[in-house]
């Protein structure tokens, strides 16, 4: 990475002003934005005020650091929102405990500092590495899993709209059916009354009888049949209201999820380029449109694994020969991780590296690109794994 980290805000927490001051003096030449805090009662306020990106816990006991940091998490309002890295200072007798805490993810790094350190620049190096990681995270684009979620929300919206529209049509049809039924029964009763009246006239029944029969039929329709039809019609009303209320309740949430998904989807996908040679890195930067892709660079296998773990990229372009691990080994490790196994790895190889290509593919690499490549071949290879519509 090219970021050097001088602008990172560093906050040193210590038990005494003298301890904090020693550390500040050791770091301030390289990291001028450094502040100290040594009053436990002011620790949370100090964090909120400085909003540091790198926190150094400079206590002589690891346990004190652990408790101090937990208290910060409880009391500092901004701690969960401020992206930061933690460096734990420890004495020589507690190196293993410090390592265990870092391994477990409580802190990001530790530096053996007391009673005396024989590696004076080690702390500055740790701060620098933390700054690089933060820079990579800031530039690292979105997690492809968020993209999947965005697509899922996009798929839910039309299903919801279709479901709602279908239910609405069903209710209208039911409403119409009841209305037709009511009309049908009404006119059937009228027809029956009129037909019966004609028959009674033919049978020379008295006008009083005819009136009575018609009145009785009218009453039968009004009191026995039509109330049941109206009841059926009325039952549709609450169903419609209930559906409208459910839609009103769900729609804002769906809209919010959709908006969020849209924002996530609008983040360009990240390509992690694992390449330790600067000319090559500059060529990648030049060839891959930064408005379409976030580019993150790792100069070693270890850095690649760390960056990929912190923020899974959409694609990894991997050089074969790296200073620490081989590209094949890094690929193998990536593929053994549940969260990273799905990230496509394209090996960048030379013409004479057929055997390495075979090993890479066996290790789980998705593809390979032979150097020196052309701008078109690189772009085609990238678009094979990142949908150009997503990256646009």
């Amino acid at each position: 990475m090219t970021t050097t980290g001088e602008s990172e805000k560093v906050l040193v927490f210590a038990a005494a002003a003298a301890d904090a001051d020693v550390i500040r003096k050791a770091l301030e030449v390289e990291f001028p934005a450094i502040a100290c805090s040594w009053e436990p009662d002011h620790a949370a306020d100090d964090f909120d005020r400085h909003q540091p990106s790198i926190v150094i816990l400079a206590f002589h006991k690891v346990e004190t650091s652990e408790q101090y940091y937990l208290a910060l998490f409880r009391n500092a309002r901004s701690i969960a929102k401020v992206q930061h890295r933690t460096i734990l200072l420890c004495n020589k007798d507690e190196v293993r405990a410090a390592y265990a805490l870092c391994r477990g993810g409580c802190f990001d790094d530790y530096v053996q500092y007391w009673p005396v350190t024989f590696d004076q620049p080690r702390l500055a190096m740790s701060v620098r590495l933390a700054a690089r990681e933060l820079a990579a995270c800031r530039n690292g684009g979105n997690d492809p899993r968020l993209g999947e979620m965005a697509r899922a929300v996009e798929q839910v919206q039309p299903i919801f709209d279709r479901g709602l529209s279908h239910s609405d049509r069903c209710l209208i049809a039911a409403d119409d059916a009841v209305r037709y039924l009511a009309d049908g029964i009404g006119s059937a009763m009228q027809d029956a009354a009129s037909g019966l009246g004609d028959r009674l006239v033919a049978m020379k029944a008295g006008s009083g009888v005819i009136r009575e029969v018609k009145r009785h039929l009218g009453m039968l329709a009004e009191e026995k049949v039509l109330p049941q039809v109206r009841e059926a019609a009325n039952a549709i009303g609450p169903a419609r209201e209930s559906l409208a209320a459910a839609a009103a309740a769900v729609r804002p949430k769906l809209d919010a999820a959709r908006k969020l998904a849209g924002e996530v989807a609008s983040e360009p996908p990240t390509i992690l380029i694992v390449e330790d040679e600067e000319t090559q890195r500059r060529i990648y930067s030049h060839l891959l449109d930064r408005t379409r892709y976030n580019l993150a660079f790792a100069s070693s296998g270890t850095e690649a694994l760390k960056l990929a773990t912190r923020r899974p990229p959409a694609l990894i372009l991997m050089d074969v020969m790296l200073p620490d691990l081989t590209g094949v080994e890094v690929t193998r490790r990536l593929k053994s991780s549940d969260t990273l196994a799905g990230v496509p790895v394209v090996m960048i190889t030379g013409r004479s590296e057929r055997e390495i290509v075979m090993q890479s593919l066996a290790a789980g690499a998705a593809d390979f690109l032979v150097k020196p490549f052309t701008p078109q071949s690189l772009q085609q290879k990238v678009e094979q794994y990142i949908d150009p519509r997503v990256a646009a």
């Binding site: 040679e277 600067e278 000319t279 020969m321 004479s352 020196p372 701008p375």
Partner: protein
Amino acid sequence: MSDHNAVELEVAVLHALVGEEAAVVAGLLSTYLNTLGQSAPQLICALAMRDSHGVCRAAHVMKSPSLCVGALLLGQLCGALEEAARAADWPRLDAVAPSFEPVLARTIRAVKLHIDVARRQVPA
């Protein structure tokens, strides 16, 4: 082995890759010079110490950027050194190695010359 037709710096190769904008070309060639400055001494040292892994690593680092910027002769030479070093084939390395330093020197001269030319084209 190196191709006899290859030249110290075929800048058209770099132009085809990144275009002809003078500032971009000068910047990339400067970065390439830095790479040579770091890796060439490592390669020379590894050859002297007969450290095939070191030769392989340093030659690999120089090979790709050399081919990308158009330093074809050096790129091919590094490729040959890398391949021989990977096989720990010292007779082959001994045959190829003597041409490394002269080719390197000529390449550096050609690159510096082109950086000067490109910088003169960059608008002030």
